[in-house]
């Protein structure tokens, strides 16, 4: 069996959640029969919720990395509402929900409390959706970054305010239909702004660690949480979590869409330390953005009677720019 060690090919490698051929310690947290299930069954997320999945992936990984010494602060939003309606909570970890816009600040307070109480082994995460992170919670988040408070902030980005009924956030992509950017008029869907890519803003704070991830690549996500937990100070992970409700996609397509977002180049998956990009996940099977857009009803108006060629080209250009900027097609990007 000694020769086994020389074979680095494992059928599915690390693409699947688990792999019976890997050594126990090389397997994912999610593959473990004794995983924490930090976000327990019985939560009220929609069928196929990407955020519920992303949250369990991330928090279980953080629990593992912190030897189960973890506290979380949660912004208002889907994740909060579906996980903690009285009289039941799905969280198995110490968890607090305060407000929509203050999760980062509450976490700062928690971290300060842990420090002053001599419980530095207890780690603090803050989490919120894109609205609670890129919009209303942005001030507190930036303050937490700037002070380099010992908090890992995780944004579950589903690109709109889903909890309130799918309204536009500053993370909503151009052309997307939301309740406040309806596909009517001369320029249907969300207008193309200049974009507000929070990972880049986080990097501008030169905090120890910034990473993006998707629910389509668990091993990458877990590795990033582990890496993030190896630092002290402010850290930020931005996870793309497709939303069947808001995106108008099939509940079984959640992971596929996250994968397509990455494979088309629309969502660059990378990590940065102290403001400098360290690596990017290479595109494995390059695809046009159309493959990503078509399965989503929020983009259905692009594929009506008249194909919205210009708009699709504009979205493709954004993907191409990401590919250039982050070197997503380069072999060494792997």
């Amino acid at each position: 069996m000694s020769e086994l060690q020389t074979v680095s090919f494992y059928q599915t490698g690390t693409f699947t959640v688990g792999n019976r051929l890997l050594k126990q310690e090389e397997r994912s947290v999610q593959a473990n029969m004794q995983r924490t299930n930090s976000l327990n069954s019985g939560h009220r997320a929609c069928q196929g919720c990407g955020e519920a999945l992303g949250a369990r992936y991330a928090i279980d990984a953080a629990m593992n990395a912190s030897n189960r010494q973890l506290i979380a602060a949660n912004a208002t939003g889907c994740l909060e509402v579906f996980s903690t309606p009285y009289p039941e909570t799905s969280w198995q970890i110490p968890w607090i929900h305060s407000l929509f816009g203050n999760a980062a600040a509450v976490a700062t307070g928690l971290a300060a409390a842990m420090k002053v109480k001599g419980k530095s082994d207890v780690r603090v995460v803050a989490q919120g959706g894109d609205g609670g992170t890129t919009d209303i919670g942005f001030g507190c988040l930036s303050g937490m970054f700037e002070r380099n408070d010992d908090v890992l902030y995780i944004c579950y980005d589903n690109e709109a305010y889903m909890n309130t009924g799918v309204q536009r956030s500053s993370a909503t992509p151009g052309a997307a239909r939301t309740a406040t950017t309806m596909p009517v008029g001369e320029r249907p869907g969300n207008s193309f702004g200049q974009g507000k890519f929070l990972p880049a803003i986080a990097m501008a704070h030169e905090i120890p660690y910034v990473a993006t991830a998707t629910v389509a690549d668990l091993r990458d996500l877990e590795a990033k949480v582990v890496r993030a937990m190896s630092f002290r100070g402010a850290r930020y992970i931005h996870i793309l979590v497709p939303c069947p409700l808001g995106w108008g996609s099939a509940s079984n397509d959640t992971i596929r869409l996250a994968r397509l977002a990455k494979e088309t180049g629309l969502f660059p998956v990378f990590e940065a330390e102290y403001g400098e990009i360290k690596s990017a996940l290479a595109i494995r099977r390059p695809l046009p953005v159309e493959d990503y857009l078509r399965p989503q009803k929020r983009f259905a108006h692009l594929f009506g009677k008249n194909l919205a060629v210009d708009t699709i080209a504009r979205i493709q250009a954004k993907a191409d720019k990401n590919i250039r900027k982050y070197g997503l097609l380069a072999k060494e990007a792997v």
């Binding site: 020769e3 599915t12 019976r20 593959a31 029969m33 327990n40 909570t89 596929r256």
Partner: protein, 540 residues
């Protein structure tokens, strides 16, 4: 902790909320039939044995494999591995090298001396098997493992039948053949060589057999009426190949014309080449119409065998032959053109197919023969109760793997017949189509190429042309298997469920759904790499 009312809650208490009630569709686990298994004429559970090989447990893999086919080392050399054509991985990059892994396992078993477990129970029934070829020995193996007393009678001096007399050494080394034959004998099969059965009924009666399985190979070369002079040396291919096994090697001369386009034609031409001759194959149609496997034609060409396509032999003289050029008509049939050519030829070897000697069946009541083969039912039984037939004797493709499959199938049916039962075959699982897979999850990996003997030695010796894989690349190749339609415990369903509604049962035990919480989103189905989950409507 004295918790404030309502705003502070106990951890994990949402377990009280059974979200399974939301569901309109439910996922269920299932096994689908992998296309390789579906394709295998010998009915091997290829995906099943690859599963064990993937984890490096080769003995378990070998034992799993040999439940269906006791000859992996032979198969790994002579099977035409149509499984690989069916392999879903072929649509992804290249088919899994099933055949090469099978050979690795077979060779590993020989090297390590793995034996079949001795038979512990006896049925008290006796079965006669006529013919010690692939079909007969396969049936012998299975029948013996069912507890029957098995006697194999063969007219020839060696075990193996057509595997020995029809397949050249450079494709199947005799020590490999002998090793896998011996293993059958070792589990208590009685073999009587040089024992031609002239009448099956007499032999059954004489030996007190309860049933018989007839598996006589097609040893008689077909002749064609070629106008020829008295001095012309015309022999049949199967005799040439058979004589290679004896003391007296065939005398074919330098220029050997082989007439035919099947595998036997190729085999005999390549054999002649190795004996120092200059073989030339004459075939009336084109290469793509030739029944021989293209890889064999290719190997023959590499070794210097010449081929005259679209040609028939009009006449054979003592040192030359006349051939006529042919042309394909609109229906693809060759038609004479009236153009002639003369080739030098010291001998002509006819490779126009073979017949089976059906002499032993002359007095069997009820047994039907049509087009030179025995008519059998779906259970492989002839018109005479208790007499079954398979291999070259029955209407089917003639190759080793098909014959082995016949042997297994006949064995099962003989067993059932002996116990006075009727067969209730289990319904086959749905086929694991490529469309059912989520191939994203498989690592990219090109097929491992097996080593090939250098061309000089291929032209001058009978050393095995194709080499085997070593452990490292056999393992690699095994792990290329997509495990189509069968859970390989990748944990995807367990991981991707947003509701933690999949319960992991532990290594080897797979998973089950917790329908208390499963909302029926279908993510597990979409993200199952191998298509082993499906959604079904929820019952009211």
């Amino acid at each position: 902790m004295d918790k404030p009312f309502a705003i502070t809650l106990n951890p994990g208490s949402s377990l009280a909320n059974h979200t399974g009630s939301w569901r309109t569709m439910r996922p269920i686990y299932l096994d689908r039939l992998p296309p390789c298994n579906n394709q295998c004429p010998a009915g091997e559970d290829i995906q099943g044995w690859l599963f064990h090989a993937e984890s490096g447990n080769y003995e378990k893999a070998w034992r799993h494999l040999t439940r269906e086919n006791p000859f992996p080392a032979i198969m790994g050399r002579v099977c035409y591995h149509t499984c690989e054509s069916a392999c879903n991985r072929g649509k992804l990059d290249e088919a899994v090298g099933i055949n090469s892994v099978e050979r690795f396992l077979g060779d590993e078993a020989i090297k390590r001396g793995w034996k079949f477990a001795p038979q512990e129970t006896e049925s008290g029934k006796k079965v006669l098997i006529v013919g010690a070829g692939p079909s007969g020995m396969s049936a012998a193996y299975h029948l013996r493992r069912m507890g029957h007393a098995v006697t194999v009678m063969d007219a020839g001096p060696y075990l193996g039948g057509m595997m020995r007399f029809g397949i050249p050494k450079y494709r199947l080394p005799r020590e490999v053949l002998d090793a896998e034959m011996q293993r059958i004998i070792d589990i208590g099969v009685t073999v009587q060589l040089n024992s031609k059965v002239d009448s099956v009924l007499d032999s059954m009666q004489a030996g007190g057999f309860d049933a018989a399985f007839l598996a006589v190979g097609a040893h008689i070369g077909k002749r064609a009426a070629i106008p020829s002079g008295d001095a012309a040396k015309i022999v049949d291919a199967i005799s040439v190949l058979r004589s290679m096994e004896g003391e007296d090697k065939p005398m074919l001369g330098r220029r050997v014309v082989v007439y035919g386009g099947g595998n036997t034609a190729i085999d005999v031409a390549r054999t002649a080449k190795r004996m120092g001759a200059e073989p030339i194959i004459v075939y009336r149609r084109t290469r793509d119409k030739a029944p021989a496997h293209d890889f064999e034609i290719e190997e023959a060409l590499q070794e210097g065998v010449m081929v005259k396509w679209l040609s028939t032999i009009k006449q054979a003289g003592d040192s030359s032959i006349t051939i006529e050029k042919m042309a394909l008509d609109d229906d693809g049939f060759p038609q004479p053109t009236g153009e002639f050519e003369t080739l030098e030829a010291d001998s002509v070897v006819l490779a126009l197919g073979q017949d089976v000697d059906l002499g032993l069946l002359n007095d069997v009541p009820g047994l039907g023969v049509k087009d030179g083969v025995v008519e059998v039912g779906l259970n492989m039984m002839t018109g005479h109760p208790g007499i079954f037939a398979g291999g070259d004797m029955v209407p089917d493709r003639r190759n080793v793997t098909v014959a082995i499959g016949h042997g297994k199938k006949a064995a099962k049916n003989i067993d059932v017949w002996l116990r006075g039962e009727s067969v209730h075959p289990e319904p086959k699982h749905d086929l694991a189509l490529f469309e059912r897979l989520n191939t994203w999850y498989y690592s990219d990996a090109p097929k491992t190429v097996r080593p090939t003997l250098d061309i000089i030695r291929r032209q001058s010796t009978f050393e095995e042309v194709q080499g085997g894989l070593n452990e490292t690349n056999a393992l690699f190749e095994a792990r290329r298997c997509l495990s189509c339609g069968n859970c390989f415990e990748c944990d995807n369903c367990y991981g991707v469920c947003p509701d933690n509604a999949v319960i992991k049962l532990g290594p080897g035990k797979r998973f089950k759904f917790n329908y208390d919480y499963c909302k029926g989103c279908g993510m597990c189905v979409s993200e199952c790499p191998c298509g082993a989950i499906k959604m079904v409507p929820e019952e009211n």
